[in-house]
Symmetry: C2
Subunit: 589 residues, 2 copies
């Protein structure tokens, strides 16, 4: 088991060369943003993650959570770590100052998310979901509800959850049946069962504030009849005290492949008199409010793919440097650490290059979110919102799928030792497999991408991205012969993406089933090429720098040679593969 | 949790249309082979697997093995199942009749391996390793040793193990230190520790016969100083009784990611007076004898990839048929089972088509092994041996890597439910990750392929395979327009393989490090294209058949459109990707 160190060099590169910190500081909302301060915060977060969170990652996995009589006991050490986390204010860095948070830009909070998740993904699920609850309440709740609930959610004394799924309503949220009965005092009573509720019950915080989707008595069927309710574990009196137990209970926790230290609860609402709930936002418009949380959560889930890959990479790299096995191919007969073996080097580069590509992409999205929220020019806001909306499903699907592959590569680098749980690397793989499922499976992301994002504004978002890629291609050309091969690889990949996008738009127009038969390959293609774009962008930016040039040359060069060629294969699948799915009937299986 | 049914339709297709059963029957060794008998045996094995082994797969995983005071207790039900397995004779179907086995051809035993591993991989590790021990003893031991040990290994009363790995000697077997001291009576005393010994200790059989690699006192360093010893748990007296405990003990069992019901033991030899051992084969030639076992075991490990994928596929298919979620894209608004969703169909086809491709490949290798062992014409024997030797590392690496991907796809089809251990599909993923490691990692397979198999006989084996692929391409052309697209896809993939093979041979000649930097992508490429070849071969064979034509059209068509295009990407990596690895120094990470 190895520790974790925040990859400061790459973060520094991104904030020095790729992120426009000056412009973000100039937005007015983040006047405290300076390069030095950013470095300081990231380093401090890294220290906290290494010292407090990372040591509990393996023990939390082995111990898991204990469920008894409706209560969930967290693993040893988690309570103390949560207290320290909250006292240091790491829980609300991204919350607006007006709400009592620290108002850091998304471009910084996304990096902190990576760090905390790499150190201890299960732990980080709790504050991460609380942020979603804060966001929804801030946006849609009445001033009274805000006054009662926000301050303690922001302080971390209380935590929050999202309650969507029911046994018959997973990806199909519209099928949910949980019902809310109107009361004379304007409150509601909720009845029903919710499953897969992360941190639905636990002992880290004093109170738990559930945001619950349910149907009002007169609600229309489907997604247009869903309302959002705030249902606290303990009801809050007018004096702010929370002592009365509400009729919402955890009735079991799931035994999962991974993230054992994150309780996944079955929640029962209204077994007795009904769970008291308060409407958040307008009746029957709950899904819109919830989507606010989900969109933001999808970027966060994508970060898991990076975080777990980075953690696994650090462990694999350390192992590869220490493990002596076999002899050098180049210097015959000399025993060497396995990092000297070409295939091990290839595997490490496969990890490192894709981690850097995903990370640069995440920051580009986060920066666009900051601009879209705070820029003074509505046109700039709109352009950035379109970019972030377009990129989010791609990033979420691509980064989580890649996370599974890369954590698996770390097992392979460890050989037999990787299969032994004590080594700790298998945990990262187990923890990864949920990322491609929650907040919408990869298939759901691809439907959002192809059915909505690719089509919005007549494909403007896609066109804008392609134009930026072409500009990057031209920048790359200016770097000379050393990058000529890289440029031609990137160029071919951009062509592949452009052709595939045109083809899938056409297919969608003719027969949506065809487009959805190849929408996941299209998402993968888009992710891969966007990653290549960010690596080329990184190289162009690093070219002028003494510090980062060689590092970015190694990884972008590898990415263009070993990863990007897949774009050609995926293009072919997207353009010509739909029929071999659409023509197949259920009886053919 | 679902059951398992042997995929009889595909087995029947293979034996009806693709395997040359008449020729195998004509070899003289397998005179009992007829189409009816083969069907009967496969059906019976399927029934046994479904009824006896499959129900213990999940419970064995949850319960795991218990280690106490040097003893290993197997999970509930395993002992009774083993007794039934042995009584039915499933343990020795592939052992020659002369040795007391049933002398079935490899082409049939490989199918039985798939069936038993799909039903319960952990269970099957025990008889599978025993077969390896039987093979090594048959080939290399003295008549006296054979007389004492073979009959009870063949009957299943005793089981066998392979002991290679030591903490400092994994892939690098030559680094092993376990030593054997010569005794005056011609026996040896062994001292040392072995790790990762599958079924090194357990309570299924009365005695355990360890085959152990160790060094004689005067042995040269490295792989040329390794000898093979037979070391029984209980020493066998001249009357055949085995009562005296030998000085070999299990000192712990590993806690692994998967295959929990297969004990992975740390074995200590000679803690006291030394473990009595008997030399098998010539001194210092132990590795050759062990390689006999390993080569055969690599085909078996490849079968795990198929078996676990098939089991996961059956479970995913059942779930996809039953789970109603969302509405039809084609018939708007109508609730449908998720198998109707294009992306779910795509995932199921991704599994089914690759499983069929791997299975057809396995049978082609197995048939070649039968011919290579028993054909009357030495030239035919030699040609088939070269084919099997060439194909084995490709198949092992490709099938096990694909097994990880496809079992993961089954989780994705299940959505959130797939992440819950009770569902049972996550076990298949956990069980898969060891396949790419033991009997040589994928990297080791690729070194064998590129450094040895591709180069042997001036690349004749590769050339012969390419020639067969070209012939298949021509056959495909004769099927007409319906397969035109498929043919062009296959054609492009064969070209890609041919170019990549030429390139990697050239690179190996100039600088082996370069070749090894892209040897795994080359292995994947070879596996993919070989799979395509077998699917096209299958389609050609099925074309005349009323029974199989549509089925094989669906899967071969999908394979050519969705899987084979990766060949283009991998070709590019092999041809142009080495420098981006070779130029990277350890300090660049």
């Amino acid at each position: 088991m190895t520790g974790y160190r925040a990859p400061l060099a790459d973060f520094n590169f991104l904030f020095d060369e790729l992120v426009d910190l000056e412009a973000i500081a100039g937005l007015g909302n983040f006047d405290i943003v300076s390069r030095d301060l950013v470095r300081q915060i990231v380093e401090e977060a890294g220290r906290f993650a290494s010292e407090v969170l990372a040591p509990l990652n393996g023990s939390g996995d082995r111990e898991g959570v204990k469920f008894q009589d409706g209560n969930v006991e967290m693993p040893e050490g988690f309570k103390a770590a949560y207290r320290q986390f909250v006292e240091a204010g790491w829980n609300n860095v991204s919350v607006a100052e007006a709400e009592g948070g620290q108002g850091l830009p998304r471009v910084l909070s996304v990096v902190l998310e990576e760090i905390f998740m790499a150190a201890n993904k299960a732990f980080n699920m709790c504050p991460s979901l609380t942020l979603g609850a804060i966001e929804a309440i801030s946006k849609a709740a009445t001033p009274e509800l805000k006054g009662k609930y926000l301050p303690k959610l922001v302080s971390g004394e209380w935590s929050g959850t999202m309650n969507l799924t029911e046994p018959q309503a997973g990806s199909d949220v519209g099928a949910l049946r949980c019902r809310a009965e109107t009361q004379e005092d304007g409150t509601f009573r909720l009845f029903g069962q919710k499953i897969y509720i992360t941190f639905g019950e636990h002992d880290l915080s004093e109170n738990i504030v559930h945001l619950v989707l349910a149907r009002l008595p007169d609600a229309p069927a489907g997604v247009k009849g869903i309302s959002l309710f705030l249902v606290p574990k303990y009801l809050v009196g007018d004096d702010g005290t929370a002592n009365t137990r509400n009729d919402v209970h955890c009735i079991s926790v799931e035994h999962k492949l991974g993230t054992h230290a994150s309780p996944t609860c079955v929640m029962s609402y209204g077994d007795n008199e009904g769970a008291v709930g308060y409407l958040v936002g307008e009746p029957n418009r709950g899904l819109q409010a919830m989507f606010v949380m989900m969109n933001s959560a999808r970027l966060t889930v994508g970060m898991e793919g990076i975080a777990l890959s980075e953690r696994a990479y650090q462990q694999a790299l350390e192992f590869a440097r220490e493990r002596v096995q076999g002899t050098s191919v180049a210097r015959k007969g000399e025993p060497v650490a396995i990092i000297q073996h070409p295939d091990v080097k290839r595997m490490l580069l496969t990890m490192k290059s894709q981690i850097e590509a995903m990370r640069a992409t995440a920051l580009a999205i986060a920066q666009a979110i900051d601009f879209s929220n705070h820029h003074s020019d509505p046109a700039v806001r709109e352009k950035n919102r379109a970019f972030a909306d377009f990129m989010t499903p791609i990033f979420k699907g691509w980064a989580t799928e890649t996370g599974i592959e890369l954590t698996g590569t770390a097992i392979q680098i460890h050989g037999g030792c990787g299969y032994i749980e004590e080594t700790g690397v298998a945990q990262h793989v187990r923890d990864s497999y949920i990322g491609t499922i929650y907040e919408g499976t990869t298939g759901i992301q691809s439907i959002d991408l192809v059915g909505r994002k690719l089509m919005m504004d007549q494909g403007q978002a896609m066109k804008a991205v392609l134009a930026d890629m072409r500009a990057c291609e031209a920048d790359l050309a200016s770097l000379g012969d050393k990058v000529a091969k890289m440029r031609s690889g990137f160029s071919a990949a951009v062509n592949a993406l452009e052709e595939a996008a045109a083809s899938i738009q056409q297919q969608f127009g003719q027969n949506p089933e065809d487009a959805f038969a190849v929408s996941v390959p299209f998402l993968r293609l888009a992710g891969l090429v966007i990653g290549g774009w960010q690596m080329c962008r990184s190289l162009v930016a690093a070219w002028q720098s003494d510090t980062y040039r060689e590092n970015k040359f190694v990884t972008s060069n590898f990415y263009c040679s070993h990863v990007l060629p897949q774009a050609l294969a995926l293009r072919s699948v997207v353009v010509a593969g739909a029929a071999t799915v659409s023509e197949v009937a259920e009886s053919d299986f």
